[in-house]
């Protein structure tokens, strides 16, 4: 336990001093700000680019357009940035050999993995919360106060998907050697999940639907109950990924 606390503290220091905290927060806050702004300005952009003879008519943007932008940004660029920031978390320490000293001090290998996951998910949570809060405030400022269906649930789904992706990178980087193996395997796993999502029968259980149905939840075309299966599957998969990562890491040759 004391090893876990000390090592988690070290992870936070590392995030701050290697600018991971700064990158994550900056990127996500920018997404939170940009999304409503883009939604608001899009019609003006388009009309300023109007080609002679072609008239583009667009409905006035609403707060829903802001959320569309927001979820699109986070599920695409947001997840990619998260993946890049956290993919080296385990593998870089293994390849550099910095863990040798620490492990010879008697910390358990499981504590190392759990510490790293705690710190990573904390930073993801903070960044995502910051993005969501900024987006909410800015949308309210630009489009007036609004009430949305299932906004919290929709955000929770996306948050869990992020936590799931981080656990997959941990699993992948304990499985492979070197710095990029983990990233490659994670990309492959996510690719497979995306392809599976094309089969209508699997959508219900697919973790990817947590990052695909966000707007449908807001529009009320997908109900809360429809998401429960995917939420359950993702939660179990996250725990499973971490457990397998722990088992592999315990026997990994350093």
């Amino acid at each position: 336990m004391r090893g876990y606390i000390a090592f988690t503290r070290k992870e936070f220091t590392e995030q701050i001093r290697t600018y991971k905290t700064l990158i994550m927060l900056a990127v996500f806050v920018v997404f939170g700000m940009m999304s409503p702004l883009l939604a608001k300005l899009m019609p003006e952009f388009l009309s300023s680019m109007a080609i002679e003879g072609v008239k583009i008519t667009m409905a006035d943007p609403t707060y829903l357009d802001a959320y569309t932008q927001f979820f699109k940004n986070i599920t695409q660029m947001g997840i990619i940035v998260t993946l890049l920031v956290f993919s080296g978390c385990v593998s870089s320490e293994v390849t550099k050999g910095t863990l040798i000293n620490i492990l010879s001090k008697g910390i358990s290998r499981s504590a190392v993995i759990i510490s790293k996951y705690t710190a990573s998910v904390t930073l993801w949570t903070l960044s995502f919360a910051a993005a969501a809060a900024v987006n909410y405030g800015y949308t309210a400022y630009l489009f007036g106060s609004h009430s949305t269906h299932n906004l919290l649930l929709s955000c929770l789904c996306l948050w869990l998907f992020g936590a799931f992706v981080i656990s997959v990178t941990f699993f992948a980087s304990t499985l492979t050697k070197g710095n990029y193996g983990g990233l490659l395997v994670t990309a492959a796993i996510l690719g497979v999940l995306l392809m599976l999502n094309m089969m209508p029968e699997s959508v219900r259980y697919n973790p990817v639907s947590l990052a695909a149905n966000n707007m449908a939840l807001l529009n009320n075309t997908v109900s809360t109950a429809d998401m429960m299966a995917a939420l359950g599957v993702t939660l179990v998969s996250t725990v499973l990924c971490l457990t397998v990562a722990l088992c592999i890491f315990r026997k990994k040759i350093l």
Partner: protein
């Protein structure tokens, strides 16, 4: 009491057998020099002692407890200095030692006290820069500090001096001699002069086996073979001297190098007198007459043949 005990340890990587039936023990408060060529299996052995590599056979005991691969509890008795210690570059030495102390479970007061003490021993007190900019020697010294933090019963150093310049090497050896009465040291190297400086027992590893083990002084006297080097002022006379000296029965293996000649002999006193007589008779002017000390180098080269 034996701090470290290896019994019938085997290790192979695929078909390549690296360690083959390795047995040795290290007694408390000794400095054990673990000598071998590059690639002899020194680092592999040390990693097995730390439970970082699985054994293919045999057993390892640290302070009477068996080492298990993976999560081994025996590491609480051990301080380890890897051949190239790697640290978190964004931390200062103090922060790094604090992290190590917290992991081992030292109290904050103890951590502060030990950190101060150790940093002054290794000459890093007052260095508040981040580790990123440290030289090899500084990293090596910080490595020793972190290894000694939990007052280990066994300090394992993997070639601590190999990559350092003479000054850095001397500093590391001085630090190790400072701590030798507090702990047992296992010290791997291929630099034999370092071994002669600080080790009291040695083991020579060759082809996966310990080919020689014992107290350094005993080994030296067992393998003692006196040799003498004579240097003449006149280069032309050296061949005549070699010819004449080889006629003395107790002389063997004469070799000429420029103006000097080295040879082995038994009984430095009597034979030596004969040689001096010979030199006087021939009227050769000697610029140097030296009785060579038996060196570990000769022993090493002989046993790893």
């Amino acid at each position: 009491m034996d701090i470290l005990k290896l019994g019938h340890v085997c290790k192979s990587f695929g078909n390549l057998s690296v360690i083959d039936d390795l047995n040795f023990t290290v007694a408390e408060h000794s400095v054990f020099g673990f000598i071998g060529r590059n690639g002899a299996g020194k680092t592999t052995t040390m990693k097995m002692i730390l439970g970082f590599l699985p054994l293919c056979g045999g057993e390892i005991y640290v302070c009477g407890e068996k080492v298990v691969y993976g999560n081994t509890k025996t590491n609480r008795h051990i301080g380890y200095l890897p051949d190239i210690p790697e640290f978190y570059g964004y931390m200062s030495p103090k922060e790094y030692l604090k992290l190590c102390g917290q992991i081992t479970g030292l109290k904050p007061v103890q951590i502060q006290k030990k950190t101060k003490e150790l940093l002054s021993i290794v000459g890093l007190d007052g260095v508040n820069r981040r580790i990123k900019g440290f030289s090899r020697g500084m990293k090596q010294r910080l490595g020793i500090a972190q290894a000694l933090l939990n007052e280990p019963k066994l300090l394992i150093c993997d070639e601590p001096t190999s990559a350092l310049d003479p000054a850095g090497r001397k500093e590391i050896l001085d630090i190790l001699s400072l701590v030798r009465d507090k702990t047992t040291i296992v010290f791997s190297t291929h630099v034999l002069s370092d071994v002669e400086r600080i080790c009291d027992t040695i083991g020579i590893l060759n082809k996966g086996k310990l080919v020689l083990q014992g107290e350094l002084s005993e080994i030296k006297s067992t393998y003692r073979q006196d040799s003498v080097r004579i240097e003449l002022t006149d280069k032309e006379k050296i061949l005549t001297l070699k010819e004449k000296i080889q006629r003395i029965p107790s002389v063997s293996g004469a070799e000429i190098y420029d103006k000097s000649m080295t040879f082995n002999l038994s009984g430095v006193k009597e034979t030596g007198a004969k040689i001096l007589q010979l030199l006087a008779d021939e009227g050769m002017t000697v610029s140097k007459y030296e009785v060579l000390e038996p060196s570990l180098e000769n022993v090493f080269l002989e046993v790893v043949k």
